[in-house]
């Protein structure tokens, strides 16, 4: 029973990371209706940045992680400006952006392979200790992940609900033209949103990198997890992505207990196809 409970808690913690990744995909889709297949690559590049800063240059993690997040934020904005912004006015923009981000994903993955090699790199735990609460043993590293996820989600919720940028972002996603009429610069909102989404991926990478290894292919599986999350929560919904992420974490933890770890992804994808079949607007969204 204790082990089972530990697994569930671990599932929630991993799920909170899925939520960060999924919410990035959801933000981009929610504002500019673009499905970003390169999202996993921001996660991958974030992982490498943290690895190089912490391991190769011995920068303390509390400084290295914010530097990496800022760098990925800028990189995300740059990518949006150079590709997505250019394709959005096209008639065939929906397919063009999916295909372009797919190409970008392959390009970045293989660039990383050439630059950094195919060996799996590991980052030491930021906190090595173990906490015991009511007979449950939890590594401090995992607790830290949960704390970071909660803080990030709280900040994002605040930004979306209470700041002028958040209002502008929500207005643009509801009606781009009407937002433009009242003077909201949609193009700039899109670029900033892309940067923020990439930065969210980088936070997840920084927290997951000590547990999973850093390698050129780490982005793809995470991208798929992010897709499951946004489908569960309703594509384009920020709160939906948070709930979807945690739900996926729990389902996987239970599923692996029942079957085996080789089938983890099949369980996740099967759940997603089932949800699309029954409720295409997501578990928590409303039909449009």
């Amino acid at each position: 029973m204790t082990i089972f409970l530990e697994q569930i808690i671990n599932g929630i913690i991993i799920g909170s990371m899925y939520a960060l990744i999924g919410s990035g995909i959801a933000l981009i889709y929610g504002t500019m209706r673009v499905l970003n297949l390169a999202h996993g690559e921001f996660y991958m590049m974030g992982g490498y940045l943290v690895f190089f800063l912490v391991v190769a240059y011995a920068v303390p993690p509390w400084l290295a992680i914010p530097i990496a997040i800022a760098a990925i934020f800028v990189l995300g904005m740059l990518v949006q400006r150079l590709t997505i912004a250019y394709l959005l006015p096209r008639e065939e923009w929906a397919f063009a952006t999916i295909a372009a981000t797919l190409g970008l994903s392959i390009f970045l993955q293989n660039l990383a392979l050439i630059l950094f090699g195919e060996q799996f790199q590991s980052i030491p735990y930021y906190l090595p200790g173990v906490v015991e609460i009511a007979g449950l043993r939890l590594p401090q590293q995992r607790l830290l992940m949960l704390v970071v996820a909660v803080i990030t989600i709280a900040i994002m919720t605040f930004v979306l609900a209470k700041t002028r940028f958040g209002w502008a972002l929500r207005a643009t996603s509801q009606d781009k033209d009407a937002a433009a009429v009242v003077g909201i610069p949609a193009a700039r909102i899109y670029t900033l949103t892309f940067g923020i989404a990439a930065a969210l991926g980088c936070i997840a990478a920084a927290m997951l990198a000590p547990i999973y290894a850093v390698n050129p292919w780490m982005g793809m599986p995470v991208l798929f997890k992010g897709f499951v999350v946004v489908i569960l929560g309703g594509l384009g919904s920020f709160p939906g992505a948070i709930v979807g992420g945690i739900l996926l974490g729990i389902v996987e933890a239970v599923g692996v207990q029942v079957t085996s770890s080789e089938w983890r992804d099949v369980i996740a994808f099967g759940l997603m196809i089932l949800v699309i079949w029954v409720r295409p607007w997501g578990l928590f969204g409303k039909p449009r």
């Binding site: 063009a96 392959i106 099949v266």
Partner: protein, 330 residues
């Protein structure tokens, strides 16, 4: 697409077929034939993907699932039941088509392109992981070997037809036959009422539906035919290379390659996918020395062609033609 076929088109197609038939007798090089065979396998795959994505407008990203299903089904039927590849490639294509209808039924109800993209990608991953996990049947990542080869036979007037790894000639002709069959089927379909309905559907779903087109039925038909052809290409591939691994037969690299081919060649054209398949296969081989850079270049090609050449190589000729002719051609 619905232009009447001119004598020029017929002559061009006839000349290309004659050239393809004569090629092994002009240049007797087994490495070149190997590249031609690979190009043809990809040309079938790319044309079938283009049928759903370019013509019918259903943007799927999981067609490599059908390639893998076709390849493994044909190989396993041959190994376990001792059936001849001449039969199993067709059975395998039918199995792939059934899988296509099975996954097509839920996704074709969805009109949102991102949902379709995500579900098809995930379906292909499920197929890959399942093949890789069922080690008792498929030998997983170790690779499935011992796949029977096509049996040879005597052909009157021509002589003995043999299929073995050192003699590529008849593999080449068989592949060419399958390619002509696939292109013929796609062309016939697209130039019939089905084609009109499908294109009307792509260009305006609601308008097409209001004219009484049964969207779901036509979409499913196109999806099934496309899965059949991809499965056929996969089955031929299995008996040609005679070893299968999940990564080689159902890996995401496959669909990326096919997408790059179709985008470079020209999405939504008949000749584009074929041109793309040949150009990228030969380009890929000439980059063999730079093996690590191959996927990097494919990724860059996808981005560059979507940004700067959205209609592909197949329509590049119209840049050089006089304007009035171009206006009429559209």
């Amino acid at each position: 697409m619905f232009k009447p076929l001119t004598l020029r088109t017929y002559l061009l197609v006839a000349a290309l077929i004659a050239l393809a038939l004569a090629l092994p007798h002009v240049i007797d090089d087994s490495y070149l034939l190997h590249l031609m065979i690979l190009s043809i396998i990809f040309a079938i795959f790319a044309s079938a993907w283009n049928l759903v994505t370019g013509f019918a407008g259903l943007k799927t990203f999981g067609h490599h699932a059908f390639f893998g299903i076709g390849a493994y089904a044909s190989a396993l039927l041959g190994i376990n039941l001792g059936l001849s590849p001449w039969l199993t490639i067709w059975l395998a294509a039918v199995i792939a088509a059934l899988a296509g209808v099975f996954i097509g039924t839920p996704i074709l109800r969805i009109r949102s392109m991102p949902h379709v993209a995500i579900v098809t990608l995930a379906f292909a991953e499920i197929v890959r992981i399942t093949i890789s996990n069922l080690q008792g049947i498929t030998r997983g990542e170790l690779g499935l070997w011992g796949i029977p080869a096509f049996e040879g036979f005597m052909l009157p007037l021509i002589g003995e037809v043999v299929f073995n790894p050192s003699v590529k000639l008849w593999y080449y002709y068989l592949a060419l036959g399958l390619l002509l069959l696939s292109i013929g089927l796609i062309a016939l379909m697209m130039r019939s009422k089905v084609g009109l309905a499908v294109v009307a559907m792509r260009d305006g779903e609601d308008a097409a539906e209001s004219l009484g087109i049964n969207l779901a039925r036509f979409k499913l038909l196109v999806f099934g035919v496309s899965a059949f052809l991809v499965g056929l290409a996969g089955a031929f591939y299995a008996h040609y290379v005679s070893i299968l691994t999940p990564m080689a037969a159902v890996g995401p690299d496959l669909i990326i390659l096919v997408i790059a081919m179709v985008l470079v060649g020209g999405l939504g054209t008949f000749s584009g996918p074929i041109i793309g398949a040949f150009v990228l296969t030969f380009l890929g081989e000439s980059l063999r020395v730079l093996d690590d850079y191959r996927l990097l270049i494919y990724g860059a090609l996808i981005i560059l062609s979507i940004m700067f050449m959205p209609r592909g190589l197949a329509t590049i000729g119209s840049f050089f033609r006089r304007r009035p002719a171009e206006a009429r051609a559209d």
